[in-house]
């Protein structure tokens, strides 16, 4: 059981780190939103899952499920809202001009 919790924690940390590197290195706001929304949600979900596995308790599990559901529902909504707002502005999308 401890090994399973450790593996969940480590994979969750890895995906959070991937999201952070993505937000730092990606050239465009849309790509940054993409990195944060997908990798970040997966990483935080795994870390919360390891909390639920560590305390085998219905009170903790219900709270963890509540946080996970809330994050899974609200994060794509916020990202969609931000993308739509930026699409209306004059923000230009990134084009790869290095291999022309």
């Amino acid at each position: 059981m401890e090994a399973l919790i450790s593996v969940c924690l480590l994979i969750g940390t890895f995906f959070t780190l991937v999201a952070a590197i993505g937000i730092l290195r990606m050239p465009d706001i849309y790509m940054r939103v993409h990195a944060v929304t997908k990798a970040g949600t997966f990483g935080i979900g795994l870390i919360l899952l390891s909390v639920a596995l560590f305390f085998v308790d219905s009170a903790v599990t219900s709270r963890v499920i509540g946080i996970m559901l809330f994050i899974i529902v609200t994060t794509p909504a916020a990202a969609h809202l931000l993308g739509k707002t930026m699409l209306k502005s004059k923000y230009r999308m990134w084009r790869n001009l290095s291999n022309r």
């Binding site: 401890e2 090994a3 919790i5 450790s6 924690l9 480590l10 969750g12 940390t13 890895f14 959070t16 780190l17 999201a19 952070a20 590197i21 937000i23 730092l24 050239p27 465009d28 706001i29 940054r32 939103v33 944060v36 970040g40 949600t41 990483g43 935080i44 870390i47 919360l48 390891s50 909390v51 560590f54 305390f55 308790d57 009170a59 903790v60 709270r63 963890v64 509540g66 946080i67 809330f70 994050i71 609200t74 994060t75 916020a78 809202l81 931000l82 707002t85 930026m86 209306k88 502005s89 004059k90 923000y91 230009r92 999308m93 990134w94 084009r95 001009l97």
Partner: protein, 103 residues
């Protein structure tokens, strides 16, 4: 708390700290407001992860309530700030302060 566990939790704290630093650099230098907003969103996620890891390492379950509140506040802040950006864009009619990405 066994040996494997303490090593894992140390690694997790380190990885989350590096992620926090990356997001903070983007928060400081992000060219538009939207970049800063996305970085702030990720910082909220990382803080929730920190709280969850601390709940494991200390054995205290009350921290999860704080994580719930933080998730709520982060979403509300994101929506409010997106509304602010959109209204400012529609008022001024151009992208003042929102520099387009330069090639």
């Amino acid at each position: 708390m066994s040996d494997l566990f303490s090593v894992t939790i140390t690694i997790v704290y380190g990885g989350l700290l590096i992620s926090f630093l990356c997001a903070f650099i983007r928060l400081l230098m992000g060219p538009t407001h939207a970049d800063r907003l996305v970085a702030l969103d990720l910082i909220g996620f990382i803080t929730i992860s920190f709280i969850a890891t601390h709940a494991i390492s200390s054995g205290e379950t009350a921290f999860l309530d704080i994580a719930t509140t933080l998730a709520l506040v982060a979403f509300l802040g994101t929506v409010a700030f997106v509304k602010f950006i959109g209204e400012r864009l529609s008022q001024t009619g151009d992208t003042k302060g929102e520099e387009p990405w330069k090639h």
